[in-house]
């Protein structure tokens, strides 16, 4: 008597259901559902108590693979005399695939799918992590920075496969850590996993690789420019933001134009940008003792103080020009007296905070708050970690206000406000 526990993924089986015998391929079995694939490709999820296993026709190899996975991965494509770009994979949708047993999308180490598309650049790849990007931590940024430095030391540019959810945070952290770099660092993700024929992963990676062959001496994020598989935008990491949950063109440059585009095989960079330097220099300390508070009407003093306590720095996302309720001002005053740095950004994302216009703002200044002009809240968060980690405490305010990597827009232009073009 054969039992479902004896069957391995990929085995050809005969089973009976609803009075008829069928042949199919066994996929999965759990407490009450057996999943089988019919010869026409459909999976059926049948109640275990209604399906009978007649026999195993052909047993699949024990590793559970019916057919050996097609190995597209190539560690390296050699193109003599061509630019060399190193690819570091950290996980995310761009390097993920469907787990057919659980049905979930999970990270994959197979990043070779991209190699075939880029013939004019030599690409070498390395998987340095395998996570969904919501699980990123400052320690991982530090590790990532070291890996990127090593890659840049032996190639012309570096691209980083990363999940899109926190890609702006990671790219900003890397941006602050590199005070000089010999080649472009381009983060790239995708909004549609690469198992789908319509995936944006292929085009995004192709664009990122070409961006990484230029003299762009900063950290950028390369993603679809609009809904078409036609052009790729590169955004300055410290001005980028994921502004849509699902669209291919989810990433936007906030308050400034994109810094580069790729289409039909060629890259166009839009100055000003920092040119590549002569050495890779990183300050690889980050102090994670920073919190971020999104102010909202009814935010209680107690909750606010809970988020502030034991932090060295707190980024507030205030309303409008940078305001919070008057009820919080005593707590802010107390915290700054005790040495906690409290910094103000705006929920508006576009535009600068200005604490001189309304009385609340002036009271906040008196309470010791540091306004961060038009710096994006998430960028301010990782910048505070970077400044706390690498500079003396008395330099903190000055460094936070200084425009280190283009995170502050000095002259905001009128035409860059808005979403889709």
């Amino acid at each position: 008597m054969v039992d479902w526990t004896d069957v391995v993924f990929g085995s050809a089986i005969k089973f009976s259901y609803s009075g008829t015998e069928y042949e199919g391929i066994f996929i999965h079995c759990d407490d009450d559902i057996v999943t089988v694939k019919l010869s026409n490709g459909y999976n059926l999820a049948l109640q275990k108590d209604q399906i009978n296993l007649v026999k195993i026709i052909r047993k699949a190899p024990e590793n559970g693979e019916a057919v050996p996975q097609q190995k597209l991965a190539k560690d390296k494509i050699r193109n003599a005399g061509k630019k060399h770009v190193s690819l570091l994979a950290t996980g995310g949708t761009i390097a993920s695939k469907v787990d057919y047993k659980t049905g979930a999308v999970s990270p994959s180490e197979d990043i070779g799918f991209i190699s075939d598309r880029v013939k004019d650049v030599e690409v070498s790849s390395e998987t340095i992590d395998n996570i969904l990007s919501e699980n990123i931590t400052p320690e991982k940024w530090i590790y990532m920075a070291g890996k990127i430095r090593d890659s840049l030391n032996r190639s012309d540019g570096c691209i980083v496969f990363h999940g899109t959810d926190t890609m702006s945070y990671s790219a900003s952290a890397i941006s602050f850590m590199f005070s000089d770099q010999t080649g472009p660092i381009v983060f790239v993700g995708s909004q549609r996993s690469s198992d789908r024929p319509s995936s944006d992963a292929f085009m995004n990676a192709e664009g990122a690789i070409h961006m990484a062959t230029t003299d762009f001496g900063e950290v950028g994020i390369a993603m679809h420019r609009n809904l078409s598989d036609e052009s790729i935008s590169m955004h300055r990491a410290v001005r980028s933001r994921k502004m849509h949950t699902s669209r291919r063109d989810a990433f936007r440059s906030i308050g400034e134009s994109e810094v580069g585009t790729y289409s039909h095989g060629s890259v166009r960079l839009l100055p000003p940008y920092r040119k590549t330097g002569v050495k890779n220099e990183i300050k690889q300390k980050l102090d994670p003792s920073v919190s971020m508070i999104y102010f909202y009407p009814s935010l209680s003093v107690e909750d606010f103080e809970g988020m502030v306590s034991k932090k060295k720095a707190v980024i507030i996302m205030g309303t409008g020009l940078g305001h919070v309720s008057h009820s919080l001002i005593p707590s802010i005053t107390q915290a700054t007296k005790e040495g906690t740095k409290i910094l103000m950004t705006s929920q508006c994302l576009y535009g600068s905070v200005n604490l001189n216009v309304y009385s609340t703002g002036r009271d906040l200044i008196r309470a010791g708050i540091i306004p961060l002009r038009n710096m994006l809240p998430e960028v301010a968060l990782v910048k505070a970690m970077y400044v706390l980690g690498n500079y003396a405490e008395e330099q903190f305010e000055e460094m936070m206000k200084e425009n280190l990597r283009g995170e502050i827009i000095e002259r905001e232009q009128a035409l860059v406000f808005g979403g889709a073009d």
Binding site: Y17, T35, Y42, Q70, Y100, R196, S198, S228
Partner: protein
């Protein structure tokens, strides 16, 4: 003939469901407004089994650019810019009821799959589809036909234009729910196929929610004559089924003869076919097609097909068309073969030179193709492998039906590698109780419905039978509820409308028809006004509201009738009488009138 005796026919019938799209809340109907366009390039990927589907690979190698026209009834879901929303409940219900009506076992867990389609007809590169029920049957006069499955899937984007390596699709149709019913290959012959399709169609239509437009019902015919299953997609009308099957039979008979004949010549495999670049031989050619290809930077390639002389196109032998179909899928139009040369501007002298260069004997054929260099390798590999496959009588493939009943090659038959799980849609659980409740909604058998219609609407049983078997029951019910003259409605939808649509070569959309009958009901139009209004809508391409205000539509009053008749009676040379008065009045006026009323007026006049 031997082939015919081995006939096996199966059907896959698709019905659109009208209640909005399957995975978003966009409506089924839309205006013709274009919102914007975008472009995609599909990449074939490997399946859960780790291998690449040959149909998907084939489509990808064509590497077409797809351009999408966003219609008003489309949103981010159709653009593949947002994951699918919940399955539309009404569509699911319609599929469940149809399943029960077809005596199927409804599955307790509905599991959506992605069927990879990289020809661009789906923005995602796959079609979402789930089996709802399996293992049923439908009764026919020649016994039960087994139903293998009832599926619920999303319709594909509508092809607007195809050519130059680019396909343009409208998103108006993408995502409309389709109920697909697949039979086992147990259908006996062509007529039985038509009967089976009607029997299945009856139940689906009667289950409600079915869409009533031109392409709302589409058939795929699966047929085999012992040499592999051929799936013929897109058979638009039931009446085309016999033509499509007989076309396929004669095609397969011809291929069978070609296969035998070419093997007598020692065959196609005697030597590896060589491809030669012969562009230089045609620089001065009079052939417009070749010359324009050369000017566009394309090259002319030739290859000798051993043992294929006289089999490309002569008498019933048509290997040339098999290859032309294939290369056309790559956007290539310049294909010539030796059976049609000299011709098309290619002279005898050019042909002689070519034959001698290609060492062609009488047994051989030569193929001449103009195409871009980048495509030549993949194209010739496809040509040689298709020829080898056909000569071995492995005829399994997917074909497409043209309007005249002929068919052409579409792609290789997809394998199971083409499917993998749709992870964005959770498994839907259907409880036994839900199934039990739905049994109440299962439609009556056809005979009972016919007598019910006949009784409720006062129609003859013959008319009722036509209404039911041509899937117009729902339409009759809807329009009769708006305009309370069911006999006029029946005559209108069975006769008047089809005739007018044929006359003007265009169709009235369902929502406009609904509006027309709403107005007719409100204004209590007589039949003649209604018919005139439909005529005006079709002749002028007008909306019902615009037509309703037309002078031409206003019914003749009694005085006007009288005036016309007085004039007629006074002027006619031949006698005006009871039998010709109506026709004569019609000749005099373009406006509608009530014949009974006219007759009354005539009688009152002739009494005087």
């Amino acid at each position: 003939m031997g082939l015919r005796s081995r006939i096996k026919i199966g059907l896959e019938i698709h019905f659109q469901v009208s209640d909005g799209k399957l995975f978003c809340r966009c409506p089924t109907e839309t205006s013709s407004n274009e919102l914007f366009r975008f472009e995609r390039r599909m990449i074939a990927t490997t399946s859960e089994m780790g291998s690449m589907d040959r149909a998907a690979k084939y489509e990808m190698e064509r590497n077409l650019l797809s351009e999408y026209v966003a219609s008003e009834n489309s949103c981010l879901v159709e653009y593949d810019e947002e994951p699918p929303h919940e399955v539309d409940r009404k569509a699911l219900k319609a599929a469940l009821i149809a399943s029960l009506a077809l005596n199927c076992k409804v599955l307790n867990n509905i599991f959506f799959m992605r069927k990879v389609v990289v020809d661009g007809s789906n923005t995602s590169g796959f079609q979402r589809t789930a089996i709802i029920a399996i293992n049923g049957w439908v009764a026919t006069s020649r016994g039960k036909v087994r139903i293998s499955s009832v599926s619920l899937e999303e319709d594909s984007a509508r092809l607007l234009e195809n050519g130059d390596g680019r396909s343009i699709y409208s998103l108006d149709r993408l995502g409309i729910p389709l109920i697909e019913i697949a039979t086992e290959p147990g259908i006996i012959d062509e007529l039985h196929a038509v009967e089976t399709a009607k029997a299945i169609g009856y139940f689906v239509q009667a289950s409600g929610f079915s869409r009533m437009t031109v392409d709302a019902i589409r058939q795929d015919v699966n047929v085999s004559f012992g040499y592999g299953r051929v799936e013929i997609k897109g058979v638009q009308k039931l009446s085309l089924i016999p033509e499509v099957i007989s076309y396929e039979l004669s095609r397969q008979e011809s291929l069978h003869d070609i296969s035998e004949k070419s093997s007598q010549y020692l065959g196609f495999y005697r030597e590896e076919p060589q491809v030669h670049d012969v562009t230089d031989m045609f620089r001065e050619t009079g052939s417009k097609i070749l010359l324009s290809n050369i000017r566009a930077g394309n090259r002319i390639y030739a290859t000798t097909l051993r043992g294929m002389g006289g089999l490309m196109k002569s008498g019933k032998y048509r290997m040339g068309k098999e290859l032309a179909d294939l290369v056309r899928r790559y956007g290539i139009k310049g294909l010539f073969h030796s059976d049609e040369l000299p011709g098309y501007g290619i002279t005898q002298e050019e042909v002689d030179r070519l034959w001698s260069k290609m060492k062609k004997t009488d047994e051989d054929a030569v193929l001449l193709i103009a195409c871009p260099t980048s495509l030549s390798e993949v194209l010739f590999i496809e040509i040689f492998s298709r020829m080898a496959k056909l000569l071995q009588m492995d005829l399994t493939e997917t074909r497409f039906a043209a309007d005249d009943g002929s068919t052409f090659f579409l792609r290789p038959m997809p394998g199971r590698e083409r499917m993998y799980p749709e992870t964005d849609v959770p498994i839907l659980r259907i409880s036994d109780e839900t199934i039990h409740v739905m049994r109440n909604d299962v439609p009556l058998p056809m005979e009972e419905t016919i007598s019910m219609i006949s009784r409720d609407y006062g129609l003859s049983s013959q008319d009722a039978s036509v209404i039911v078997s041509t899937f117009r029951k729902a339409q009759l019910e809807e329009l009769s509820s708006l305009y309370k003259h069911p006999k006029i409605v029946a005559r209108f939808i069975m006769q008047t409308l089809p005739e007018l649509e044929k006359k003007y070569g265009r169709k009235i959309e369902q929502h406009k028809l609904t509006r027309l009958f709403t107005i007719a009901g409100e204004k209590n139009w007589i039949r003649e006004v209604l018919e005139k209004a439909a005529d005006l809508m079709l002749s002028g391409g007008l909306d019902p509201d615009a037509v309703a205000g037309e002078e031409e539509l206003s019914q003749l009053g009694e005085d006007e009738l009288r005036n016309i008749m007085v004039k007629l009676l006074a002027s006619s040379e031949s006698e005006t009488n009871e039998r010709n008065i109506i026709a004569r009045v019609k000749k005099e006026t373009g406006r509608p009138f009530d014949a009974a009323q006219a007759m009354k007026v005539y009688k009152s006049l002739s009494k005087v």
